[in-house]
Amino acid sequence: MTAAAAPVAPARLRFRPLAVAGVALAGAMVLGVSLGPASLPVGGVFLEILDRMPLVTVDSGLSEREAAIVWQLRVPRVVLGALVGAMLATAGGAYQGVFRNPLADPYLLGVAAGAGLGATIVIAAGAGGPGIAVAAAAFAGAIAAVVLTYALARTGGVGSTANLILAGVAVAAFFTAAQTFVQQRAADTIREVFSWILGRLATVGWAEVALLAPFVAVSAAVLFASRRLLDVLAVGEEEAGTLGVRTDRLRLVVVAAATLGSAVAVAVSGLIGFVGIVVPHTVRLLAGHSYRLILPLAFVGGAAFLVFADLLARVIISPGELPIGVVTAFVGAPFFAVVLRTSRRIT
């Protein structure tokens, strides 16, 4: 991204693109709760959801077990998918802004590799598949990797952007090697490790939603609050400095917020790739280059994208499930290629 790409005229967050993204999200969520291996009446599904709302009591006509399918399985899964997608896409957009690098993604500073190592160690130690223990270990690993990346970047000089990215690459390589080693030592759990690495929303419930939601709220609030400063930063680091932006502090705040949010998202859902790259860039190509537009649109669009991808993951080989990471890449890459080709806004 060059300085020329930065918008000159103030870009307001217009209603229409946000409405389009909102409709897409609503549609994906409606389909997400309606479809599944159990053929439940769609009307019953929505009455059941309505019944669970505060102050509302309706008879959905579903049995206890069918109600559990709706409220314990489908709804938390759709909600979690939306939260994870929103978090990863927003974090990706923020990283791209703060590093002024179009290839930056939420895993840039070693979040994925650190989370992978933490999860693998716990799974290999016999904790089994996805669960709170694995999530906690993944989170600890992610934070450890990012702290290490920061420490390493600071020893390399003044902590410039390039230093940070290079340190992230080195830390990620080291953590990935360590993870592969642990994995090889515990051959009998290798499939569970892979299942986590490829991302999985199948076994989630309200506990994961409750865990993730506050982090997403705080992280997104901080990132949204920084979106004007990110626009200024897009002009150039020195230029932003002369305009009164404390770039060091901005970078620290944005990176900390984005990392914290993505680390928790990764911890509950495994590694879901591509969302953090594809969604912000699609938004950028369709709606414009201002972070005032990109971050909120990426938040809603990322949620819609992941809910939709998860729907495909469940439906394609029903009643089995594809790893969602496979779907996001398989659907996301061609979709992005089409957007890239048809868009005229490429700089």
Partner: protein, 299 residues
Amino acid sequence: MRWIHVPLLLLVVVAAACGDGGSSETPATVTTITLASTPPDAPARVVSLSATHTEMLYAVGAQDQIAGTDLTSNFPLPAEETPKVDAFNFDVEEVAALDPDLVVLAFDFAGEVAALEAVQIPTLLLPPPTTLDGAYDQLRELGEAVGRGEEAAALAGEMQTAIDEIVGAATAGGDPGTVFHEIDNTLFSANSSTFIGDVYSRFGFENIADEAADEFGSGFVQLSPEFVLDADPDFIFLGDAGFGETAETVAARPGWDQLTAVQEGRVVELDSDIAGRWGPRSVELVRQIGQAIVASQGG
């Protein structure tokens, strides 16, 4: 002295196949009585690359012919003390270093058979059977290959008798209903075209995994939580109990407390090693399943 060994051995083997708690001392007994009975033309250095075949070799009294076993071979206990090779990261040199005159394998994923034949090591590939009868046949075939055909045939016969008896007793009260066999907590299961699935079929179970598409024809299919909840199986058997899954962890999964099997206490923890193998201890597997059925009918 061989004439006295064979009947004694049979007794011990029968005890091993039928005994409930005495299996731990059995191998030691076998070791002491079969020292001199290896036929001269039988392979003297057998390497077993699968836990099931290791169990079979010990059970037919071929323990003195074992030159090595794979890392997962943990039963009977003396198998832990044999030289180890890693069957999942197969290295032909590692196996050849044990100087085997026969290698027994359950899988040929990575060209193991071709690699061994290239260095002139004879192989016997015995892939997982898909039925109990296939397991009996395989036991006999392995027994023949190591010069212990008689012992193996007798053991197979004993297994069959014991299993048929347990199945007969458990099915006297009618069909037990539907079953979900859990291989791991990502909900991999086995349909009726697998060995474990055949065991459930013998009891008259209807296997919910038969409803799921089996693209690879392996018989092993992954189900989703929603599918299991919708199917509402009468029994849940945990083949992953050795990996921390219990009736309690199953009940704690989102929505699973609504399952009939959970509410009525029909979530059964199986011995993971036994449930994943098709060796002599399959009798124990069948017994665990039969006991669960009988218990549910009694209560």
